[in-house]
Symmetry: C2
Subunit: 291 residues, 2 copies
């Protein structure tokens, strides 16, 4: 049996599906059932129930977007930095292997030669660089608390999307925003991300840090072009003149835009398809939200 924390969230639901597809029994543990932010309660639960594996998909993301984290710093710090540390302590005490859903948003830009950041590059969009959103700062601290963790996967997600219209889906966001910021990013097709998390455990991939983004990167204009070509929208998309203008008019805190290198994940056999293929596939089977 695999225990899943944060199972009702956008990422957690995708992981539930991936576990089910891979034939795993999954127990979704809610905070109402057990206050798993309390290390003693979580350790006792793990010792009593002895799951084969635990997945943490719980975390604090701002609604409607990352700006909201600037107003809810306590909750954001608790959910994204302290919680992984608590789970680590509990899992190590109970000797349960586990995986943590982290984020690629602890990076900005790309390597000087334009290639993506690998798992050996230190985060460059964090409190320690003092150039980040509060959200990114807490996610980077969360990874810092997992340094040297035993039997632990850290899975970095970046801007999830799939074929289902949803306020959390990148494609939906581009369709709904009045004005867009041109930027280059790696992205994660959500069900491939979730399947990759599950495959880490199923295939006994070595523990450690994995960038779980689809190979390659895209610009915002690339994605808009695919949206138009696939008939998802006929509207005239507008773009901010610059990141400065975006920050002035639309954002309260800087965004992470970055390219990640997922070759470690690919070499481990994780199912991540090239980003253009993944985007095209989601758009070709686009499912609008029920009105």
């Amino acid at each position: 049996m695999i225990v899943l924390l944060g199972g009702s969230g956008y990422v957690g639901q995708a992981i539930q599906e991936a576990l089910s597809l891979a034939g795993h029994r999954c127990s979704v543990l809610s905070r109402k059932q057990l206050d798993y932010t309390n290390v003693d309660l979580l350790t006792a639960y793990l010792r009593d129930n002895r799951p084969e594996f635990l997945i943490n998909a719980a975390g604090y993301t701002g609604r409607p977007n990352v700006d909201a984290c600037e107003l809810h710093k306590t909750e954001c710090l608790t959910g994204n930095a302290v919680l992984p540390g608590v789970i680590r302590n509990a899992c190590e005490a109970a000797k349960i292997p586990w995986g943590h859903v982290s984020s690629g948003c602890i990076f900005t830009g790309a390597r000087p030669d334009g290639s993506g950041f690998t798992e050996s590059d230190p985060p460059n969009f964090s409190f320690r660089q003092n150039n980040c959103s509060f959200y990114s700062g807490t996610k980077a601290l969360g990874e810092e608390l997992l340094e040297g963790a035993e039997q632990c996967y850290i899975w970095r997600l970046r801007i999830p999307f799939n074929e289902y219209e949803s306020p959390r889906n990148y494609i939906t966001k581009l369709l709904r925003y009045d004005c867009l910021l041109e930027a280059t990013n790696s992205l994660s097709q959500l069900s491939e991300f979730a399947a990759s998390c599950v495959a880490c455990w199923t295939k006994k991939v070595p523990f450690g840090l994995y960038n779980l983004t689809n190979p390659g990167s895209v610009t915002t204009r690339d994605v808009v072009e695919l949206i138009v070509r696939n008939g998802l929208s006929k509207k005239q998309f507008r773009f901010f003149d610059s990141e400065d203008q975006f920050m002035q008019l639309a954002a309260k805190t800087p965004r992470s835009n970055c390219v990640l290198d997922s070759s470690k994940a690919i070499a481990a056999g994780l199912p991540l398809s090239p980003i253009h293929d993944a985007l095209e596939k989601s758009m070709k089977s686009w499912v609008p939200a029920p009105k």
Copy 2:
């Protein structure tokens, strides 16, 4: 009635005494009695009991020193950054005024002209500067979570000492360490610090940030000279050649050495005597620990 969190600690005990001296009834709330890291439980407690004021003297300090915080990052982040945020949320929900024991260790050095940092200077020894210990980083984040807090005092303590020999007392530390680091610091005489916290509430001092250090600063050699002159030790004190040597031989993480300006506290009438007087007074009435 005033509620005190962290009442059994080194600072908390001094605050208990100061409250008693000022004629206040104080209820020391332990985490065994109430898990006050849980915002819902703390809010309910405050609504039910309606204390006139709350003091947070709880926090995570490494034992025997700050190096230990590098090994217990989760506990350190929880105790020093998240806890003040949780208390803020609970106190604001229940409309209870309160004060938080912060630390001056979120600064390093002095202003360019050698004067001390005031309450309007941003911390310069923090995650955001990436030059700090994990402990200092969490203390600075704790203050960040209190930005804009309602009816809240933030009291900065720096290197406490008094007349009682104790492993937490700066004078004791200088007496016991094999080798010392020469540095310039502001210090806090512990009972004056505690009396100042209490006086903020009693005298209805405006809410906000206060550097509660004794006016002035001292070098390590100044304090050693006072130690020798007052007959506390006859030993030959040794000093590291440099901070680099100290970091190589004795420390795992950088120390904050800094000068703070306490004129805001003095102008508010808080009982902080000049640092040389306070040191001399503690040494003249020195009480060795029972063997």
